[in-house]
Amino acid sequence: MDTFYVALAIFLVLNVAASLIRVIRGPTAADRLMTAQLFGTTGVALLLLLAEASGQPAFRNVALIFALLAILIVICFVQTTGSAAGPGNREA
């Protein structure tokens, strides 16, 4: 069973590596953020798999933190682009 998890993890890591190409190619910031989002989700899946493989449920908390905090980066990004989005949205 552990071997299965590890093999699946390898597969997901390969996925992550492949999606790196999109960060390199871009072309917009949104594309890159999208990739980051995929990274995040895959990362959570990977953490859960590895937690299962190592038999340490404690590692699930790591995934929990990731899922909990991922939203921060998104909101920050929205602000980043938002503050430059136009005169209507400029700082009051």
């Binding site: 071997t3 590890v6 093999a7 993890a9 390898i10 890591v13 390969l14 992550v16 590596a17 790196l20 960060v23 390199i24 871009g26 072309p27 917009t28 910031a29 949104a30 890159r32 953020l33 990739t35 980051a36 990274f39 995040g40 990362g43 990977l46 953490l47 590895l50 937690a51 190592s54 340490q56 404690a58 590692f59 908390n61 790591v62 929990l64 933190i65 990731f66 909990l68 905090l69 991922a70 939203i71 921060l72 980066i73 909101i75 920050c76 990004f77 929205v78 602000q79 980043t80 682009t81 938002g82 503050s83 430059a84 989005a85 136009g86 949205n89 400029r90 700082e91 009051a92």
Partner: protein, 347 residues
């Protein structure tokens, strides 16, 4: 060890190296930041592989909760202030990638020699270092010693025992470093105290609903980890960071928390962890024990108390880092800059 595990480790390490390389060499700052955040994620996986759950938790919390946010927030400053108009049809280069001194690609021509020198010496260092690492003996470490004394430390989780008891002095200084960094950031910013956020677009309905739901959840998670630290991976620092992240979240959503607090409360928040350590240390000295020595019988409760104070303080400080940097710039500084920049910034 099974080949499949070696494959996974090898792949992760390769990914680490590639991401680090890309983060250092990417043509745009925005890409650098994304690679770096991804690097943090892979590091968390590496910590899991190395069976270091406490570090994995810390990395996950700090990497996404503080560092990623700080970096992206800084990008906004670096990008916005350059004179490229972000509203211009921005496919090439896209917003967030403006500015940007293309470090690593286009370099002034006179710098090839130092570059070769640096590369060569780093290569040499790499060879020496790897050789040294391979030569290290197997085994060793202080696992056994830490386990042996666990009973006397008042907690059941060895990492917490090391952090709060065996090497509590380091942790005390660490809380001090956070305080110090806050003072340093005050110096760098040139003013003491917090301004309102320069929050621009109010979050949409979906987002604000989510924020309302998530912030209490984060605080709950922080409390959970704090309590968990006594017996399993978790503890003051991770909990503090999550607490701080909850603050950052609220701040991002436009809640003016810190700028409305009286300065005294802010100071107290920053000093709390440091002070509680000092009080305990001093009390231990007065009662004839060594500095920061806990009486064996009550160590558990005392450690929990100190940890709570430390977590609150860490969370507050980390939140303050962000709040200070994210707050509105002084207008005159911007004008200054705009004037100066007309001449020489345009690439």
């Amino acid at each position: 060890m099974r080949p499949v595990e070696i494959g996974l480790d090898g792949l992760l390490c390769l990914l680490l190296l590639v991401l680090a390389w890309k983060a250092l060499r990417a043509p745009h700052l925005y890409q650098s930041a994304i690679y770096f955040i991804a690097l943090g994620l892979v590091m968390a996986l590496a910590w899991v592989r190395l069976a270091a759950p406490d570090v994995a938790l810390a990395e996950a919390a700090i990497g996404t909760g503080l560092l990623g946010v700080l970096l992206i927030d800084s990008l906004r400053v670096f990008a916005r202030d350059s004179k490229t108009d972000p509203d211009a049809e921005s496919e090439e280069p896209p917003p967030g990638e403006i500015n940007v001194y293309p470090a690593g690609s286009a370099r002034p021509s006179g710098r090839t020699l130092p570059m070769i020198l640096v590369t060569a010496s780093c290569g040499l260092l790499a060879i020496l270092l790897v050789e040294a690492i391979i030569e290290l003996p197997d085994g060793g470490g202080l696992t056994a010693a830490a386990q042996e004394n666990l009973e006397r430390s008042g907690v059941d989780h060895p990492v917490t025992a090391v952090l709060l008891n065996y090497r509590g002095y380091d942790t005390w200084l660490e809380v001090g470093v956070l305080l110090l960094a806050m003072l340093g950031i005050f110096c760098a910013g040139g003013r003491v105290g917090f301004a309102e956020t320069r929050q621009s677009n109010p979050p949409g309905h979906l987002l604000s609903w989510l924020i309302r739901a998530l912030a209490p959840l984060m605080i709950l998670a922080a409390a959970y980890l704090l309590w968990l630290g006594k017996l399993a991976p978790g503890g003051a620092f991770q909990s503090g960071v999550i607490l701080g992240s909850a603050g950052i979240l609220l701040r991002l959503a436009g809640f003016q928390v810190i700028s409305r607090l009286p300065p005294l409360a802010v100071k107290l928040g920053l000093l709390l962890g440091f002070g509680v350590f000092l009080i305990f240390g001093g009390a231990a000295l007065l009662t004839g024990r060594a500095f920061l020595e806990y009486p064996e019988a009550r160590a558990g409760e005392l450690i929990l108390l100190v940890e709570t104070a430390a977590a609150v303080s860490i969370g507050f400080t980390i939140f303050a880092f962000f709040a200070y940097l994210n707050s509105r710039d002084q207008p005159e500084a911007q004008e200054n800059h705009a004037r100066e920049e007309g001449g020489n910034q345009k690439p």
